[in-house]
């Protein structure tokens, strides 16, 4: 609740007799205005400007500085950033403290890169930069900070991207460190943002692996669904969903692409890994996921796996497109059904959107060739409008019904029900 809200609303509370004038004054005193904080930003902005000017002076003369001085500057600023972070943390200013520690970690990476460059030294594997990831993961365990937890995950992506693009190698150590080190950190202290970023980071690295090893791109989904299965095992449902989100989005986009462009056998052929190996690996991950869902009592989310049905083994052409459409409809329907049961408004919206998208794809696939273009858009528009009207009406009635069925149950457990209708 913001101070502004309190200022504007509280006179009405006094007028209606909810609180007394004295209580209102105490509430306002409890939440002082924010102006003080804005003034506190000025020194920070000032020091950033001073720091930038120092940085540009150093950068402009970097090549002319003697070697020892360059090394001294790097190590000195590294030390200063960490010391500053520690100092601010001891004074209780956590945000600035964690920011400076993160800066120190960034300077560590910069020092490794610039020192190699200083000696024109060539590295043939990622070991030089791997130390950066290790330091980041260790630092994230020392502090309870979202920023410091996110940093090694992002650094891991940068190191892996550099390694695959410049050195032509995939660094299993980097992905392992991020998955196990940052992953365990997230498991212990779940955070939705960290979960999603972690998942994205791992998926990106898996994609780099697929590109580098010239594997069939469908192999991407085995590690991706492994990440999803780990989310199933997490005790906190919201944290698990955050980890699963990116993998699900990837699987959905793939299914959508298959429905839209899967007709030409030329594409579909590039997607088919050896049947037994691929299906075996995917089934193992599925078993892990189902066990997790059962343990955590989350079996209704099982239809997520519909998106992973390997339709690309079907012969390319219309059968493949139609089969994928059926899968997309089944998936959207499962999301809608689950949302209706739980009565969650966000899930309902998501299910509706998925349903509309599936309808659009189906309409586009099946009628583009047969209809006059203006008629195509007219019928498509009318179809979408009526569909959205119907779904919204259904949602509204279901949500109302859900509220009605929940209310008596809640009322029975409460001592003084106000409106058990």
């Amino acid at each position: 609740m913001s101070r502004k809200f309190l200022d504007t609303e509280s006179p009405a509370w006094v007028a209606e007799g909810l609180i007394t004038e004295a209580q209102r004054a105490r509430l306002l005193a409890r939440y002082p205005p924010d102006a003080v904080q804005a003034v506190g930003l000025l020194p920070l902005l000032g020091s950033i400007l001073v720091g930038l000017s120092a940085l540009s002076v150093v950068a402009a003369n970097w090549q002319r500085l003697p070697t020892a001085m360059r090394l001294g500057l790097l190590l000195g600023s590294l030390l200063a950033a960490y010391a500053g972070g520690e100092y601010f943390l001891r004074r209780g200013n956590r945000r600035v403290g964690h920011g400076l520690l993160g800066l120190g970690l960034g300077l560590f990476g910069a020092s490794i890169i610039l020192t190699s460059q200083l000696y024109q030294l060539v590295g043939y594997d990622v070991s030089g930069l791997l130390a950066w990831v290790v330091a980041g993961v260790l630092l994230s365990y020392l502090y309870n900070s979202q920023v410091l937890t996110l940093l090694p995950i992002v650094i891991g992506v940068a190191v892996q991207t550099y390694c695959t693009q410049a050195l032509g190698l995939f660094s299993y150590a980097t992905i392992g460190l991020v998955a196990l080190g940052s992953g365990y950190r997230w498991w212990r202290r779940p955070d939705t943002l960290v979960g999603s970023v972690l998942s994205l980071s791992l998926l990106w690295q898996v994609a780099l692996w697929v590109a580098l090893s010239h594997a069939k791109i469908t192999w991407f989904f085995v590690p991706a669904m492994l990440i999803y299965a780990v989310g199933d095992w997490h005790p906190t449902r919201a944290a698990g969903r955050a980890l699963q989100g990116p993998a699900l989005v990837a699987a959905y986009l793939f299914a959508l692409g298959l429905a839209l462009f899967g007709e030409t056998d030329q594409y579909a052929d590039r997607l088919r890994p050896p049947v037994l190996a691929y299906l075996g690996a995917l089934a193992a991950v599925l078993a892990l996921s189902v066990a997790g869902k059962r343990t955590r009592g989350n079996l209704p989310s099982l239809p997520d796996w519909l998106l992973l049905l390997p339709g690309f083994y079907l012969p390319g052409g219309l059968p493949l497109a139609v089969a994928t459409l059926v899968v997309l409809y089944a998936h959207a329907g499962s999301v809608l059904a689950r949302a209706h049961r739980s009565g969650e408004a966000e899930q309902l919206t998501l299910g509706t959107v998925l349903f509309v998208v599936a309808t659009m794809v189906a309409y586009f696939k099946l009628t583009w060739a047969f209809l006059d273009k203006s008629l195509f858009f007219l019928i498509g528009g009318v179809l979408l409008l009526s569909l959205s009207w119907y779904l919204r009406r259904r949602n509204a009635s279901r949500l109302a019904a859900g509220a009605a069925t929940v209310a008596p149950g809640a009322a029975a457990s409460l001592p003084a029900p106000e409106n058990p209708h």
Binding site: W62, Q63, R64, L71, L74, L75, L78, L79, Y82, E86, L89, R90, G104, F108, S111, I112, T115, S116, Q117, L118, Y119, Q120, L121, V122, G123, Y124, G128, A131, A135, L138, L139, Y141, L142, Y143, N144, A166, L167, G168, L169, R188, R189
Partner: protein
């Protein structure tokens, strides 16, 4: 996981920072040691374009050893772009090193020869394009390259450490463009 800073916590941070400082010093030490204990070879380049030096602090070196005939390839399978390779270099008549063979596995060079690691950039019909990650040369402030002679021919002194790391030690102008050979 600790939320407030405690003495043991501070100690851990200090150890971590000390390890980072030592690591950076170690990288610098590897740079020194590569020169001190490494094998030294001279590589020739194409004329160096100095125009970029007005905007950037490095120049691109195009080594003559960056292309090798496909007959120099010794490997189990045909070379692939981005593949890591070991390039056997032997000094030619002008004391500049020339490619004697490109291998897909590590090998021990005979005396007088050196092995430099690199990557395949392109596979052409009769030649291989190679990259050594030594192509970017950060020009020091006192280098003769800074004096702005247009497209000079240079030779590059490269040190190769016993553990395989390589670095550019220095870059020299070939004073009279071709005659000095």
């Amino acid at each position: 996981m600790l939320t407030r800073t405690s003495p043991s916590h501070r100690l851990l941070l200090r150890l971590l920072v000390a390890a980072q400082l030592l690591y950076v010093l170690g990288v610098a030490g590897a740079g020194y040691a590569t020169t001190a204990y490494g094998q030294h070879i001279w590589l020739g380049t194409q004329p160096v374009d100095l125009h970029g030096l007005q905007y950037e602090s490095f120049v691109r070196l195009r080594y003559t050893a960056a292309t090798a005939p496909l007959t120099a390839w010794h490997g189990a399978a045909a070379p692939q772009p981005r593949q890591a390779v070991y390039v056997l270099l032997a000094p030619g008549s002008d004391s500049l090193a020339a490619v004697a063979g490109v291998y897909d596995k590590a090998l021990t060079p005979s005396p007088g020869q050196a092995v430099l690691r690199g990557w395949v950039t392109e596979v052409y019909n009769h030649t291989l394009g190679l990259r050594y990650n030594l192509e970017r040369y950060y020009v020091p402030g006192d280098s003769p390259l800074r004096l702005g002679k247009t497209s000079p021919a240079v030779r590059v002194r490269v040190s190769i450490a016993p553990w395989g790391q390589a670095r550019i030690e220095r870059v020299e102008l070939l004073k009279p463009p071709i005659g000095a050979r």
